[in-house]
């Protein structure tokens, strides 16, 4: 497993995340089998791997939606299981489905955090929410219901909702799934644009190779609940692990299960 060779410039406000010896089983079936990695402040860290490899479960542990069986997650050196730590740092998650509240309008969804925590007056909340929506290129959708939006718009509204928190850490769960290539590129550009415009650490879970290599400072390849490799895009591209190479190279034209030599059926 490669160690990081490039550490991004630490961003002010962004947080460092450390995952140590994480293990998790559901109904006796191990899903995460001992995962360790660190994400530096301001870094875009991509966790890439096939479906069902435990990526999303890992993300849920980092945001505190799941509790590990073993191991720990540290934010700025503090365990997220310590009292008050989850409230101390501003963290946001962009869900695969967007997870917008269907009973609220787009504007209400984006301003939800500020309104529920009574951090601003309603007029100010609306102004901030509108500003975040415009920041993501979403004008004139404030009064629409989430069910009226396309998949890409929902994802961008979800990002806007995350930005309202003024996050120090953003977690993206499959941000380009169900999106066309144009929208996928747009979402990827948003992730990069956020990195350059605000101080935030980003952890992106995806099986989209284009997105991973397009946005990542470092990539962790995950398979069957374990990390196969960690490194920069170049290091991952040239990693010797056959599973990593298979994931990176497979396409419709290649044979995913080549027959062993000498076993070729006679034609």
């Amino acid at each position: 497993m490669s160690e990081p060779t490039r550490t991004p410039t630490p961003a002010q406000g962004a947080v460092r995340v450390e995952v140590n010896g994480l293990r998790k089983s559901f109904d006796g079936r191990p899903v995460i089998k001992g995962i360790d990695f660190q994400v530096e402040r301001g870094e875009v860290f991509v966790i890439m791997g096939p479906s069902g490899s435990g990526k999303s479960v890992l993300l849920k542990h980092i945001i505190g939606l799941e509790a590990p069986d073993e191991g720990d997650i540290l934010i700025e050196g503090e365990s997220i299981r310590s009292p008050g730590v989850m409230g101390k740092y501003r963290m946001a998650m962009v869900f695969q489905s967007g997870a917008l509240l269907n009973s609220l309008t787009v504007l209400e969804n984006v301003g939800l955090y500020l309104r529920e925590h009574r951090l601003k007056k309603q007029a100010e909340i609306d102004r901030i929410a509108t500003e975040k929506l415009e920041f993501l290129g979403l004008k004139d959708v404030q009064d629409r219901q989430p069910s009226d939006l396309s998949g890409g718009m929902k994802k961008r509204v979800a990002i806007a909702r995350a930005l309202v928190i003024d996050p120090q850490l953003i977690l993206y769960d499959e941000p380009t799934s169900e999106l066309d290539p144009l929208m996928s590129v747009l979402i990827g550009k948003e992730i990069l644009s956020l990195k350059s415009r605000i101080a935030v650490t980003s952890i992106v879970v995806t099986h989209d190779r284009d997105l991973a290599f397009g946005v990542a400072d470092r990539i962790a390849m995950v398979d069957d609940g374990r990390i196969l490799a960690i490194g920069t895009a170049d290091e991952i591209r040239h990693h010797p692990d056959p599973l990593v190479q298979r994931f990176l190279r497979i396409n419709f034209k290649s044979n995913p299960n080549p027959a062993p030599a000498g076993n070729t059926p006679a034609s």
Binding site: A92, M93, Q96, A99, N102, E116, H117
Partner: protein, 240 residues
């Protein structure tokens, strides 16, 4: 379910912050159930009068019909029937809404924003249903009495006047009898709200899971209402 009830009770101090959602829920409950409550109550009052009135008249007890109908409706029928109506109409909607929020990760999204789903979803719903159901029961009692009176007057085999019906009703039914029905309905409301929210929050799987939660919410609520009704009646008899 008891855990959810306990957590909701401990979050009661936050209720003022959630008053907007309570009002929204009250409007929803009123809109969804008022007409049905009216129809149900008028026919319940009517059918009991139809069943008991002729027999009482034949035995020379026609002057006691108002009291009998009045007591039956305010102590038993209005709280139980309205609770069953609300379990089917509102409890099912609560379980479906919260269940779908669970399935589509909206509740996870709330948690990531440090918004407690108990404060945001459960507390306003249980509070609203606990306010709405007793009010609905008062409405149902009045409409049920009226339904009974209409049948008592219109039916040839009963044939008593409105004055005779309501005079006896006033002599027999006192405030404690109405309070009895209101206490029952408040307890039933908490049961319906807690069971429905708990089933919603426990939803797993996709749309099929939501369907299971809705069915369980309604069936469990009704079974608990009928069981609790017996024990509450036994308890409240001590205060008569």
């Amino acid at each position: 379910m008891l855990t959810l009830f306990g957590r909701t009770m401990t979050s009661l101090p936050c209720i003022l912050r959630q008053r907007g959602k309570v009002v929204d829920q009250l409007f929803e409950i009123g809109n969804a159930s008022l007409l049905m409550a009216c129809i149900l109550s008028i026919f319940i009052g009517g059918v009991i009068t139809l069943q008991t009135g002729p027999v009482m008249t034949e035995n020379g007890l026609s002057s006691a019909i108002g009291g009998l109908i009045g007591l039956s409706i305010c102590k038993e029928l209005a709280p139980v029937m309205m609770s069953i109506l609300i379990a089917g109409r509102i409890g099912s909607a609560m379980a479906a809404e919260i269940g779908s929020m669970r399935v589509y990760q909206e509740i996870d999204a709330l948690r990531t924003m440090n918004i407690n789903p108990i404060h945001y979803l459960v507390l306003p719903r249980i509070t609203a249903i606990t306010i709405a159901l007793p009010l609905l029961v008062v409405f149902s009692i009045l409409v049920g009495w009226l339904g009974g009176a209409m049948v008592a007057v219109a039916n040839d085999r009963i044939g008593i006047s409105y004055q005779a019906y309501f005079l006896n009703l006033r002599q027999v039914v006192d405030f404690m009898d109405i309070l009895n029905g209101l206490i029952k309905s408040a307890v039933f409301a908490v049961v319906i709200g807690t069971v429905s929210c708990q089933q919603g929050l426990a939803t797993v799987g996709g749309p099929r899971g939501i369907g299971h939660s809705v069915t369980k919410a309604v069936v469990n609520s009704i079974v608990l209402i009928l069981i609790l009704d017996y024990f509450l009646t036994r308890f409240l008899i001590n205060f008569e």
